[in-house]
Symmetry: C2
Subunit: 198 residues, 2 copies
Amino acid sequence: MRNIDPVEDLIALLARLPGYGRRSARRAVLRMLMDPQRQMLPLADALRNAAEAVLPCDVCGNLDTRSPCHICDDPQRMQGLICVVEGVADLWALERAQAHRGSYHVLGGTLSALAGIGPEDLRIQPLLARIEAGGVEEIIIALPVTVDGATTAHVLMDRLGDTGVPVTRLAQGVPIGGALDVLDDGTLAAALRARRPA
Amino acid sequence: MRNIDPVEDLIALLARLPGYGRRSARRAVLRMLMDPQRQMLPLADALRNAAEAVLPCDVCGNLDTRSPCHICDDPQRMQGLICVVEGVADLWALERAQAHRGSYHVLGGTLSALAGIGPEDLRIQPLLARIEAGGVEEIIIALPVTVDGATTAHVLMDRLGDTGVPVTRLAQGVPIGGALDVLDDGTLAAALRARRPA
């Protein structure tokens, strides 16, 4: 087939979206081409707007339209209570859950020997700098419960040890709504070890 | 969470893509925001380019950057051999298969009592006009093998009957690579009825 270049270009770019491939990209493009004015131009504008307006917060690494971001800049929040997360997605998840009333620190990844990500690739130094600047009362480590996440937490606690700031981590256990028989052994064992008075 | 408006707008629009929801849209946006210059602006430009450059072919209904499209305009192709398809996606599939050396006619849908799509909503009249204009030697009906597709083919053959142009339809049978035991009964029965000398 002779390619229709603008369409092929668009399919190639859409196919890179997570969960998308050439087939779904083609389907999306065909559907959008039914009504380009309402389905394509608004998306083009939204992409451009977001690309131009959004930037990382210099303090915590969150993405926002300003830096410091609206969380770091909020006097209502306990700025001395810093929750350390792997990425912005985790920060957003915690915000959706309205679970944390302090501030955040985005590490930007976890240590990974396989992917060649070392401590210097993560935003550990900026976290130490925030602590040095004073006012930090507690660091909550909210990294993923994976091998890489645990390694990262370990290294992080090592570095934070000298600062004298109390470090805590998220509880591990049975998720709300979680049926016991489908849970993995590790989670079950952890929940049993961490059992509390009823 | 206080919304970051440009990001929320983009998530809402991306979530409308086929196969996408808010969760996958959020994941896509976060990944694109890692490198907006390379991941968002090219997509925005591609969407705008496609929306501005692509239009339906006045003759066959294909989507192209010009009308008549490159297929209707190709003297190498047998313009008198018209393959009738439901949508542009089917036309593209046939072109990828390099299966058809004639031209096409996109109906723009199939009849559907449920969806309220009647014969006047399909591009049947333009097809009759092409035949009236002369030079059409055969009409190949390549509509989906569904109830709606069969109804549409029936109505179409009725309308085409008066024109005297030979009408054919795609063979039905076992797909290439198709294991018999997973095929539906209808396909098996059709393949058996249409059996040919080995």
